[in-house]
């Protein structure tokens, strides 16, 4: 029974294809098999996004001592739908001097990347849309693609605030891409695979990488870089409301604006999903609940943490943001690869000690090299 519930979506899909197989030839079945996965992802992603906005508003409200949306439907559950209708009926304004084509294309292109990367996330046992043998590489490569769309939007708007936002986005995303990828390298090194499904399988039975010394810190760095990648507080400089109006989407309204938000929320979901896959054991969990439930739960918790960040932390300054990526994350992740290699190389008790020593050393060094430098008081020799 548990097995059936665990595999219920896979079984339903197979059953449906079997039924189709009675009337249709094999090659169409092959196509339909792919199309079903695509259709499910395309249908689920916007719904996930809608209810993430609802969740975010609810949690933020509670953090700020108020109820969030609670007027439309019970607990405000219909609020995202009402917002969707509002967005669709709003006037779509294009600035007179904007580059019409690119201005239109940017919000369309920006949702492509987060939707594509969902294909390589294992949502449960056997529940992966495309088990690529380079799945992780695919994810990292394609998710970076979003920044181009973002810059398209900011450039085509012909607005100083937009352009500033786009520039910030570019600088930030490229800076954070490097430690993010480097924090993933230890996982590849230990599992010796780029396939997300294989990475999850390597962690089965509570051997989650977050419980290893290198994995814990890599997960932290990956998660923080992920927050920076999707432009969420405290890394939301590209759309800093109090500084540059709305950043790259200043000149967007109506559904185009909503598409930017959709991209942001789906990539939040995707990044959380990848963090779960890489470090939190993916769909692994006690067997009394189905695997997809465990994946959902862990992703949900990570999303909650992101919302918690947003409710708590103020925005970084640009120099702090860059310094964080280049002075803290980058050296740490580089050292972390070596530490993970030690873990993979040595037998059990030794590798634990070696890793602890290694991490202590690198953290101490980071502390020393990043300490605050207060200039000595200047002595005026002649002025008096």
């Amino acid at each position: 029974m548990a097995e059936t519930i665990d595999q219920i979506f896979v079984l339903a899909k197979d059953r449906f294809l079997d039924l189709l197989g009675i009337v249709l030839p094999d090659w169409i079945i092959l196509l339909v098999r792919i199309l079903i996965s695509i259709a499910v992802l395309l249908a689920v992603a916007p719904v996930v996004m809608m209810y993430m906005t609802w969740l975010e508003r609810k949690v933020l409200g509670r953090i700020q001592n108020r109820y969030g949306p609670n007027r439309v439907g019970i607990f405000g559950l219909l609020q995202p739908i009402a917002d969707g209708i509002k967005m669709l009926t709003k006037e779509d304004i294009v600035p007179k001097n904007a580059d019409q084509v690119i201005h239109f294309l940017a919000p369309v292109v920006i949702v492509i990347a987060p939707l594509l990367v969902l294909a390589v996330l294992p949502f449960g046992r056997n529940m992966i849309a495309a088990d690529l043998n380079v799945g992780l590489l695919f994810f990292l490569g394609v998710s970076t693609f979003g920044v181009i769309a973002l810059f398209m939007g900011s450039w085509a708007s012909r607005n100083k605030y937009s352009l500033l936002g786009g520039m910030r986005a570019f600088a930030q995303m490229i800076s954070y891409e490097i430690p993010m990828v480097l924090s993933v390298v230890p996982v590849i090194l230990v599992t010796s695979s780029l396939s997300t499904a294989a990475i999850v399988e390597a962690q089965l039975g509570w051997k989650w990488f977050i419980f290893t010394p290198w994995g814990g810190f890599a997960a932290l760095v990956f998660f923080l870089c992920g927050v920076a990648e999707v432009n969420r507080t405290p890394f939301d400089l590209p759309e800093a409301e109090s500084e540059i109006v709305a950043g790259f989407h200043t000149e967007y309204s109506g559904m185009k604006f909503a598409l930017f938000y959709m991209a942001e929320f789906i990539s939040t979901f995707a990044i959380s999903g990848l963090a779960v896959t890489l470090f939190l054991g993916g769909w692994d969990g006690p067997a009394f609940l189905p695997s997809w439930f465990w994946f959902g739960l862990k992703t949900f918790i990570l999303i909650l943490i992101m919302i918690w960040f947003r409710g708590t932390l103020p925005r970084f300054r640009v120099d702090q943001l860059m310094g964080f990526a280049w002075k803290v994350f980058l050296p740490f992740t580089l050292a972390n690869i070596f530490i993970a290699a030690l873990w993979a190389l040595l037998p059990y008790p030794k590798n634990f000690i070696a890793d602890t020593i290694g991490i202590t050393v690198i953290l101490t060094l980071l502390q020393i090299f990043n300490r605050k430098e207060t200039p000595k008081k200047r002595k005026y020799l002649y002025a008096n």
């Binding site: 509670r62 953090i63 001592n65 109820y67 918690w308 409710g311 708590t312």
Partner: protein, 199 residues
């Protein structure tokens, strides 16, 4: 330690988040407006209304036009009532206040020597039409003196005491002056103000 402040801040927000569920009275300050309302302060004011004693016919206003002339945005419009011979009566025939123009300053209440116009507590007055619906006529402005006692008990006591003292002082003179109500008693004549029940 590096990051300690961040953790402390996170704990503060977490505690506030949990408080809203564990102890909603302390955690959530929202007053869900259409269902629940905050009690208004007694000295709250927004738009003026006219006072009558007993029945709406016994309107206190004597159409002296002081409030009309004092009103800074000139939102009050008064025409005194006239009897069959064209003599001006101490009663408004027309008393309009344009709520769209009124700026809630409360000067009319302050200048009124007859205690007949006061600022109200009614704030749900949104209307569809600015020109017609917000032009409030005399009938809609009239509210009983007891209503004032309800919304502003302190002011009620003060004004009642003042009026009682005034009427006590005016009583010996009143019977003599009452019949001598000249037709030339213009709308701005404030004598006899202490006995507006006739007015």
């Amino acid at each position: 330690m590096f990051g300690w402040g961040v953790l402390k801040g996170m704990l503060v927000t977490l505690w506030n988040f949990l408080l809203t569920y564990l102890w909603p009275k302390k955690g959530i300050f929202t007053v869900q407006y259409p269902e629940k309302k905050l009690p208004l302060a007694q000295r709250y004011r927004n738009f003026p209304f006219l006072v009558y004693d007993g029945t709406p016919h016994m309107i206190r206003c004597v159409a002296c036009k002081i409030c009309e002339s004092e009103c800074p945005p000139k939102c009050i419009y008064i025409i005194p009532e006239k009897d069959a011979e064209g003599r001006v009566q101490k009663k408004p025939a027309v008393f309009d206040i344009d709520y769209a123009i009124c700026m809630n300053c409360g000067l009319c209440e302050e200048v009124c020597p007859f205690d007949s116009i006061f600022m109200d507590h009614e704030y749900e007055i949104s209307k569809y039409n600015r020109a017609e619906d917000l032009m409030v006529r005399k009938e809609a402005l009239l509210k009983p003196w007891e209503y004032f006692a309800k919304i502003r008990p302190h002011d009620f006591e003060r004004i009642e005491a003042k009026r009682a003292a005034k009427s006590a002082k005016a009583k010996p003179v009143a019977p003599a002056e009452k019949p001598s109500q000249k037709p030339d008693a213009g709308p701005t004549s404030p004598q006899q103000g202490s006995v507006p029940k006739n007015g």
